[in-house]
Structure formats: structure tokens, C-alpha cells
Symmetry: D4
């Protein structure tokens, strides 16, 4: 993430990964305050064995796109909402990437979904993980049904 102030959002991505027992590392790599380190981090991600990068940032959110430009790995962008504009600036700054360099963008503030999307990407090549994602979706359904039962009238 670009700042430790993003952590209250981004830790939900970490939690999702932990639920699926997917290893991860969390770090502050600011596009605007540590540009060289950020470029270095992205450039070395593949050789260090990372499979997917999740990057959260707010406002003029450049971190996900810049990482995507220096790695062939898939990059997931989380638009972190700041004090004004409700994350619309973060969303457009992350999703509107030019042809050639995509960022997989999730909803404003949706770090949990970023984690789940990473799991899906990994699961595409891992039948066991795929089964667990399918089971997770069954659980979501069961919870929704239980809620429905309480409300039904």
C-alpha cells in the first residue's frame, strides 16, 4: 500500500488471504514518496516469486498502475477513499489505465474483495484452492439464506 493510513482498509485483503491460507507480505511502498523503491519493488516482484500484487492507494492513486508498468504479474488495485470525493478520484486514477498496462480494479474501499480476487487468480491453477473458493461461495449462500430465514414474512 502507499501509506500506513491505508492499512485499516488493506488489512482486510490480508485477512482474506489468511482465510484461504495463502502466504503474503504486506509493505508500505509509496509511489510518490519512495518512487525508486516502488519501481525496484515492482521490478523484482516476479523474480522474488510473487504471483499477484495487491496495491491500495487513494486520491491521485498511482501505485497500482506504476507497479503494473514494471512487472508482468497481475496487479489488483484497491481505490482507497480519502476525506473528499468519496473515492471517485481514487477509482478513476486506478481503473482508467492506458492500453497495454491493465490494473484489475475492485470497488472503492473493497480490500477484502482484492484478497478474494487474488485467491481466484491463484485458484485458476490450483484445484484445491478452487474447491475452497467454491466452498466459500457456498458459505456465503448459507449465511444469506440464514439471514433470509430470520427476516422472511
Amino acid at each position: 500500500m502507499g501509506s500506513d493510513s491505508d492499512w485499516p482498509f488493506m488489512k482486510e485483503a490480508a485477512a482474506a488471504l489468511e482465510e484461504f491460507e495463502v502466504g503474503y507480505e504486506a509493505d508500505v511502498v509509496s509511489a510518490h514518496r519512495m518512487p525508486h523503491e516502488m519501481i525496484e519493488y515492482g521490478s523484482r516482484a516476479e523474480e522474488r516469486g510473487l504471483k499477484v500484487i495487491i496495491a491500495g492507494a487513494g486520491g491521485a492513486a498511482h501505485l497500482p498502475g506504476m507497479l503494473a508498468s514494471v512487472t508482468p504479474l497481475p496487479v489488483i488495485g484497491v481505490p482507497v477513499p480519502l476525506k473528499y470525493l468519496d473515492g471517485l478520484d481514487s477509482l478513476l486514477s486506478i481503473v482508467q489505465m492506458p492500453a497495454g498496462v491493465p490494473v484489475a480494479t475492485v470497488a472503492v474501499g473493497a480490500a477484502r474483495n482484492a484478497g478474494l480476487l487474488a485467491v481466484r487468480m491463484l485458484a485458476a491453477h490450483d484445484a484445491d484452492l478452487r474447491r475452497r473458493m467454491a466452498r466459500f461461495q457456498e458459505d456465503l449462500k448459507a449465511q444469506a439464506q440464514a439471514k433470509g430465514e430470520r427476516l422472511r414474512r
Copy 2:
């Protein structure tokens, strides 16, 4: 995609996949006009051996999110711009998914990037594809540099 009118956009995703020699199938599976078939399509995608789904749709764009709800595979959503509102409706309808069911959203009209994002997802487990993506990024750079040379003054 949800309609053949999306094909002029979506064929760029196909073209990107072809450049990387990634096999694919293209189909019209409308969330609103073929809901049962759409659910069936999504539900069987994994067992049919698909690894990633790219779904383009416009306006109240429900196809990517609905497919994501019936498959554990990663789903990439392409917001197709319609006649009014410049694709802002398509973008929000695709990206703002609830916790539990992510869609990897790309820019408005950015089907080519959807294809490239799919390649990156596959490449995460395929060193050869990863090398080709890295080479592709080198080519992008070379083209940009050539353009710079013509303009430089």
C-alpha cells in the same frame, strides 16, 4: 459478452489473446435476455476447463458480476460505453461489487487491457508466458521511445 453490439469492443480482447497464442472462446451470453443460460454458462465454466472469464457489458452491466457469483474463476469486467453517460454507468455497475464476489474491472471500453490482464493471470503460473509479457512490455517501451525520437526537440 452480453450482446453482439459489444463485439466491436470485445474483439480487441480476443486479438490480445491471439497475440499471446492463448486459446479462447467468444460467445454472446446475455445476463438479461438469457439469464438461465448465463447462469449455466458460468456454473460450468470451471469444469469445462476455462481459467479466466472476460465479460463485457454496458449500462446496468450485470454480466460480469453474475458470472463471478456462480464460478470460483477470476472474472474480468469490461465497462462498455453506451450512447449516454460515457460508460460511467457501466463502470460503476461492474466495479462496485459487494464483499465476497469480486470482479477485476478494467477501464471504460478497455477490452484490449482485459485480454492482457487475462494473459497476466495465466502467466502467473507460466514462466514462458511471463517472459512473453515482459517482452511485450519491452516492445511497448521501444514503440514509445521511437515516438519520442520523432517528436523530440
Copy 3:
């Protein structure tokens, strides 16, 4: 509705129906967490004797449109506002349906109006209900006039 967290909004639709002594059922049928059940629910609504469906959802709000795609009944959509974007995403995701599959959309958070709209639809074929809706509108007027009297100067 798509989640029990929508109930604080949606119960106002139920209240409006009760004021007009119109029978109803309330249920959680999530488009994204119970897709098969949602499709099943919508597909069987007509044969079960329902006349109108009210569906509330937020963010990438797919429930109203998906139900409309599997039933010939009129579907009323309530854009539920989420934490960010003030319901603009919910509104566009519900109202911007493609040609062929309309959703009758009401204002952001306006579940009470969804109930009243359902009453109007039923009243179109029920002279007594129509009279009560007319009387209800008279009451609205009387209340507004009473407020005016207190404020007038």
C-alpha cells in the same frame, strides 16, 4: 432484498404495503451470494401468484434487473445507498437496463415509494385500492396544508 443490511431501508416498503392492507412476503435473495436461488425465486414468482416484485440492492446492484430478466411481472428497484458514492452507483446499476428488460426505479433509498408504487400498480385494476390511494394523496395534502398553516406568516 439482497442482504439483511438492506432491511432498515426496505422495511419502509413493507410498511407502505401494510398501510394499504396489501399482502406481501419479505425475503433475502442475494443476486451475488444465492444466484441460483435468486433465478429460481424470480422464475417461479408468477406461478406462485405474486403480482409485483420490489427489489432493493446497493453498489453494483444486480438483483432488480436479474429478477426482471426471469419474470414477466413488473419489478420495482430501490437503489440502496452504501458507504461511499451516496447511492449513485446503486441508482445507475438499477435504472440503466438494456432495451427489453425494464426495471421501475425509484429514488435512492426510497423504499417507501417502492411500496406505494406497487400499490398504484395493483390499484390500476382495483377500484377500491385506487380510491384509497386517492384518499392517501388527500391526506398527504392535508398534512402539508397543516404544516403550512403552522409556518405561514
Copy 4:
């Protein structure tokens, strides 16, 4: 509709009604240029035997809401896009009605869907019409499938 300049949009509502052999009348009743006639038109709609009113208007689009305020019938609003702002003003002016007086709003420029929504409302009390709406939806599916067949690869 509020102006004959809305007719190129609104005639698609008429066409949809004709496809279902639903009788209708078309008229220009401007909220801002014929306010008394508009109020009169709305107030007498029920006793004249109308079942549903479809009203299209653009910009500060007051026609649908004003008609809804003087009739107990359901009113469908079509946001007609004007030269600037892509119909966003028309949409918000129609959909954001206060509690007590709902308007069933469809997508920007979606007059055809307004006609189909009216058919659904009538069909809720007309088994034959309901069957035809279900058949119409089957046809939509067949067309979508045919398009898919041509594109499939």
C-alpha cells in the same frame, strides 16, 4: 410527453405497446407551457379509464412527477437526454421524487422499456398478456442466442 421534440424518443414506447396490441393515446402535455392542462390531464386520467401513464421529459423534467401527484395511477418516467449533461439532469429530476409520490423511472432515453414496463403492469392482471410477455422474453433469448452463434469461436 412534454414536447414534440421528445417524440423521436417516445414513439418507441408507442411501438412497444402496439407490439402487444395494447391501446394507447399519445399527446403533448407540457408541464411548463401548459401547466393547467397538464394538471387537468392528470387529474382526469383515471376517470377516463387510463391504466398507466408514460411521461417523457428532459432537463428539469417535471412532467412525470407532476402527473403522479394528481393521479392514483402508476406513472412511468422516461428521462429524455438533451444537448448537454447526457440526460443526467433528466434522470435525477424524474427519479428523485419525495416520499408519497413515486415515479417508475427507466433508463435515459429508454422509451421502449417504458412501453414494456407498462405492458408488464397491465399483464400483472391479465394472464394472456403475461404469456405474451413471457413469449417476448423467449424471443429476446432466441435472438441473443442467434447472435451468439454467429459470433461464437
Copy 5:
């Protein structure tokens, strides 16, 4: 105004008029709950001797435009912000009037400015009032200068 819930905003218009000793009446005349009375109110405003009408309304704000359609008097519209969308819907619903029927729109929530605008309109034909408006502007300046003095460094 359209509802007594607008009074916390609209009373600032009244206060501005009182500062300039301009006579006024305040009333609730709801476009959607008292349509006939609203039309009647607007139609009789001129013969009752009113010179300017100030109308505040929120959401699908139809009151200012409808009054303007039944009177030749100038109508000032105040976009009242509701719970969602920050008054953007109110603003567009009031300002985007069709050719032929203008509404003099002020800022979101700016009832005080509506009162001051009414004073300016009356002052255009009243040299004394114009002098007092000029003096009022001098006072604004003096206050701003005093604030500047405290802050200056």
C-alpha cells in the same frame, strides 16, 4: 417552500428580507402533495400583489419550475440538499428549465442569497433599497477587512 422540513434552510431567506424591511409571506405549497393548490397559488400570485416568488425544494425539485410556469413574476429557486447526493439532484432539477420558463437559481442550500437576490430585484426599481443594498455590500467588505486584520501576518 415544498415542505416544513425545508424551513431550517428557507428561514434564512426570510431573515434576509427582514434585514431589508421587505414584506413577505411564508407558506408550505407542495408541488407533489398539493398540486392544485400550488398551481392556484402561483396563478394568483401576481394579482395578489406579490413581486417575486422564492421557492425552495429538494430532490426532484419541481416547485420553483412549476410556479414559474403559471406566473409572469420572477421565481427564485433554492436547491435544498437532501440526505443523499448533496443537493446535486435538487440543483439540476431546478436550474435546467426548458426555453420559455426560467427559474433564477441560487447555490445549494443558499436561501439567504435567495432573499438577497429578491431584494436586488426589487431594488432595481427602488433607489432607496438600492442604496441599502450598496451599504450592505460595504458592510460585507468591512467585515471581511476586519477578519483580514485579525489574520494578517
Copy 6:
């Protein structure tokens, strides 16, 4: 107006004034390119006998608000749409004035309505002009009715 490129819009204000035989002057007084002259123009408007000022401007549209700050006369602002953003920037720059200094804002590009609003302001103190405005509104109605007759079915 702020530039002669605004004239294609603003001449409709002039035309409206001519229809009502209201005298006027038209001038280019740019807030940003002739700031001293603009201030001078506004400051002297009252003593020169002007009754109302109509000011059109686009983008960061400062002309109407600045004129309003140096005159006690009512100022009508016309948001002129520029190449991008459809006049939303012009609208917000004109209408969102701070407390103390109102601008009577009309719709994006609605110079004709600015002229008609000026006529209404003058008519508030001129029974003859008021009668002509009422007749003008009758004519609008007659035209709308004639259009309705042609379309009615």
C-alpha cells in the same frame, strides 16, 4: 459576456429582450482579460441606469459573480458550455456563490431564458410588460397544444 465566442449563445438573450421591446446593450467584458474594465463596468452599471445585468461565461466562469460583487443590481448568469465537461464546470462556477452575493443562474446554455428572466424582473414593476409576459406564456401554450394536436393519436 466574457468573450465573443459566447455570442452565438448570448445573442438569444438579446433576441428575447427585443421580442419584448426591452432596450439593452451588448458588450464583451472579460473577467480574466479585462479585469479592471470589468470591475469598472460593473461598478458604474447602476449610475448609468442599467436595471439588470446578464452575464454569460464558460469554464471557470467568474464574470457573473464578479459583476454581482460590484453592483447592487440583480445579475443573471448563463453557464456557457465549453468543449469538455458539458458546462458542468460553468454551472458550478456561476451558481455556487457565497452568502452575500447572489447570482441568478439559468440552465447550461440557456441564454434565451436569461433574457426572459430579465424581462420578468423588469415586469415585476411594469404592469404592461407583465401582461405581455403572460401573453407570451399563453403563446407558448398555444404552440405546445398545436404540436400536441399534430401528434395526438
Copy 7:
């Protein structure tokens, strides 16, 4: 700034200048309440030896653009967010200046960055100040790295 209510924002610009030991003056110069003084202030800024002007304003924010129109000095505009619309109106009113008169606009509420931008402008001709800005950027990096260290896992 245009009002002392902007000071809670604008004092961060002052703080940034103090960190770099750059002299400055702070004053309230309201475009709308002190137009002549504002023009005078801007017109004399150069001869008084000022090098850069920072102007914060909200809503229909005319101060930065008007100052830019009467001085050849660079003007930095800070969009101050008001109660509604989250500063979008302030941003567009400041940044969308017509050709010929630029304003250097920073983010909504970003007065600190306005101060830092002023330092950069001065530093372009002051090697010592440039070195301190470079050191400041090093410090930003060190802080971000320290935060990363605490979070890293």
C-alpha cells in the same frame, strides 16, 4: 484567502512555507466582498516584491483566477471544500481557467501542497532551497519506509 473560514485549511500552506523559512504574508482578500481591494492587491503584488501568490477559496471560487488576471506572477489555487459537493465546485471553479490566464491548481483542501509548490517555484532559481526540497523528499521517503517497517509482514 477569501474568508477567515478558509484559514483552518490555508494555515497549512503557511506552515509549509515556515518549514522552508520562506517569508510570506497572510491576508483575507475576498473576491466577492472586497472586489476593488482584491484587484488592487493583485495589481500591486509584483511591485511589492511578492514572487508567488497562494489563493484558497470555496464554492464559486473566483479569487485565484481573478488575482491571476491582474498580476504576471504565478498564482496557486487551493480548492476549499464547503458543506456540500465535497469541493468539486471549488476545484472546477479554480482549475478550468480560459486560455491566457492559468492558475496552478492543487488538490481539494491541499493547502500544504500549495505551500510546497510555492517553495518549488522559488527553488527553481535557488540552489539552496532546491537542496532543501530534495532533502525534504528524502525525509518523506524515510518516514514512509519507517511506516513500512512497522507494518511489514
Copy 8:
């Protein structure tokens, strides 16, 4: 600039610099396709003697902000409008920079103003250039006055 497709916009910045006889270099330095070169370009700008950097980019426009993060020089950002969203995405991606790293943002598509802003920055330390900027502003005024004369009536 980030792409040669930005040149039709950005050449107006070059033209403005030429009018003031300010030396410049123009280059394509893409944030997303030449990230290492872009970082290198920005990092060496100061030691190569550049005084100001003008960077134009569209969509998820990261070039201006990234350059600002690796140089102590002032960076001017030009939001280039792309095919959809009218440059709103470009504007927010450039202007909404985090505290510590400002970008001096101009209007959507306003490359000429970027050039003029650069001249103002240089002129702050160059009395002759300041005089020419003042003369340029006089010329703008004379042109505006001439236009006014032709239109005046």
C-alpha cells in the same frame, strides 16, 4: 508527454514558450510504458538545468505526479481528455496528489495555459520576462476590447 497522441494538445504549450522565447525540450516519456526511463528523466531533470517540467497525460494520468515525486522542480500537469469521460478522469488523476508532492494542474486540455504558467514561474525571477507577461496580458485585453467593439450594441 506520455504519448505522441498527446502532442496535438501539448504542442500549444511549446507554442506559448516560443512566443516568450523560452527554451524548451519536448519528449515522449511514458509513465506506464517507459517507467524506468521516466524515473530517470525526472531524477536528472534538475542537474540537466531544467527549471520547470510540463507533463501532459490522459486517463489514469500518472506522469505528472510521478515526475513530481523524483524532482524538486515544479511540475505542471495537463489533463489530456480521452475518448470517454471528457477528461474528468485525467483531471482527478493529476490534481488529487497526496500531501508532500504537489502538481500544478491546469484545465482539461489547457496545454497553452501550462506553457504560460511555466513562463510565469520563470518570470518570478526575471524582470524582463515579467514585463513581457504583463504586456501579453495587455494584448489579451486589447483583443478582448476589439471584440467587444465589434459586438457592442
